[in-house]
């Protein structure tokens, strides 16, 4: 058959596209369970990381089951509502109005004390950023925090996922002396804020840093009623 005829070209193109589509669909379908499992394990690792427990891919499940003693969903009024805290899709919740959001809470027991772990979700420079923040039972002192991102610039915005940045959050407080929710300021060197509410921003990663600040602020605000109830 003539390799340059229209008919040949059309048949060739169609056959190739169908073949490639089939191969990719089969691959995606068969790999899905593995990928879903990886994502679930990663989520458990992240939750544990926010209470300063390092878990690897193999022991994350086991440690999670031991340490996370309770999890539930609250609404903006602080009332407990139906739902599974682990499967709440933060991206979808963030698109809703605050009153309609499902707000997951994970309780973790460390040396007999309960730490409260809250998920965070916001926007960086190139895409979503997210994380978990854990509070002592006074609902004021930050016990630990972990952040992750989809596509922030390596060496710049991506530094939010490093220990050095996250360690700064430990021991900071989110309420000011008048009992008002102050949240955390991710500050550049020329910004002033009370030291107990301030962490250093990432040089070269200003937009990611500020995105992280507003993420923490907005998500903590959603839990305000819950905090007041527990305090």
């Amino acid at each position: 058959m003539d390799r340059n005829s229209n008919v040949y070209t059309f048949i060739y193109a169609s056959a190739m596209v169908i073949l490639v589509a089939a191969v990719l669909s089969i691959a995606a379908f068969n790999l899905k369970p593995f990928q879903a499992k990886n994502i679930e394990i990663e989520k458990k690792q992240n939750i544990l990381a926010s209470v300063n427990i390092a878990a690897n891919a193999t022991n994350a499940e086991q440690i999670y089951n031991e340490k996370i003693v309770n999890s539930y969903v609250v609404n903006a009024k602080g009332e407990q509502v139906d739902g599974n805290a682990f499967t709440v899709d933060m991206k979808k919740e963030r698109a809703k109005k605050v009153e309609d959001r499902a707000l997951p809470v994970f309780e973790c027991e460390i040396d007999g004390n309960i730490k409260y772990i809250l998920p965070l979700y916001g926007a960086g420079l190139w895409g979503p950023i997210w994380g978990y923040i854990s509070l002592d039972s006074d609902m004021n002192t930050i016990y630990g925090a972990t952040f992750d991102h989809q596509g922030e610039t390596p060496g710049l915005g991506a530094e939010i996922a490093t220990k050095a940045f996250q360690e700064q959050f430990k021991g900071k407080t989110i309420f000011d002396n008048d009992g008002k929710l102050y949240s955390i300021i991710v500050a550049k060197s020329n910004e002033t804020a009370p030291a107990e509410h301030k962490v250093d921003a990432i040089s070269g990663g200003t937009i990611t840093s500020k995105g992280l600040q507003s993420m923490v602020e907005e998500d903590l605000n959603a839990y305000k009623a819950f905090f007041n109830q527990k305090k």
């Binding site: 390799r3 994502i39 710049l156």
Partner: protein, 216 residues
Amino acid sequence: MSEKEALFSKKNLGLLSNPLNSDNPITVQVLGICSALAVTAQLKPAIVMAIAVTAVVAFANVIISLLRNTIPNRIRIIVQLVVIAALVILVDQVLKAFVYDVSKQLSVFVGLIITNCILMGRLEAFALGNKPWPSLLDGIGNGAGYGAILVIIGFFRELLGSGSLFGYKLIPESWYIANGGFYSNNGMMILPPMALITVGVIIWVQRSKNRKLIED
């Protein structure tokens, strides 16, 4: 051809080694510059990117070489693109399923392999006119030539820009000005323009060693 060529004849070995020096895709052909700037702020993503590109270019070369006598001339670029895109998605899916942490490290850059000019360049210039075995060697050679440059750039950028390699701090904390020392990381190194200048320095060094490359 009456005589069968040996698998590792001189000519075939040349396909492997030439891209490392006198026919380097980045420093001589000046292809694939964009990703060489994007992923080299740290050493580890540079290395994984080098491996991923090598795998994709080698397989794509073999597939296109096998198909070379059936591809309609008018849509050959699209055929090449589909093969590359399919392989890249496959690599991405496999990484996500089995080496999730590496896949996370590379994030968007895996998808960006599709836009790497070296791939289209090798398919168009080599695989369309050669048998599968030489095409495979050519793919591996070019991937390695690309990777070598990436690793060199990544090494200097991470060392001078962040004072670390593979994320491990190499410069003692006490050297830093903040701690009363004399040293400060060069923030310019983590920005893409310095990667371009580093590429320029590598080209300079290479040409002063290899005089054949100097044009009149």
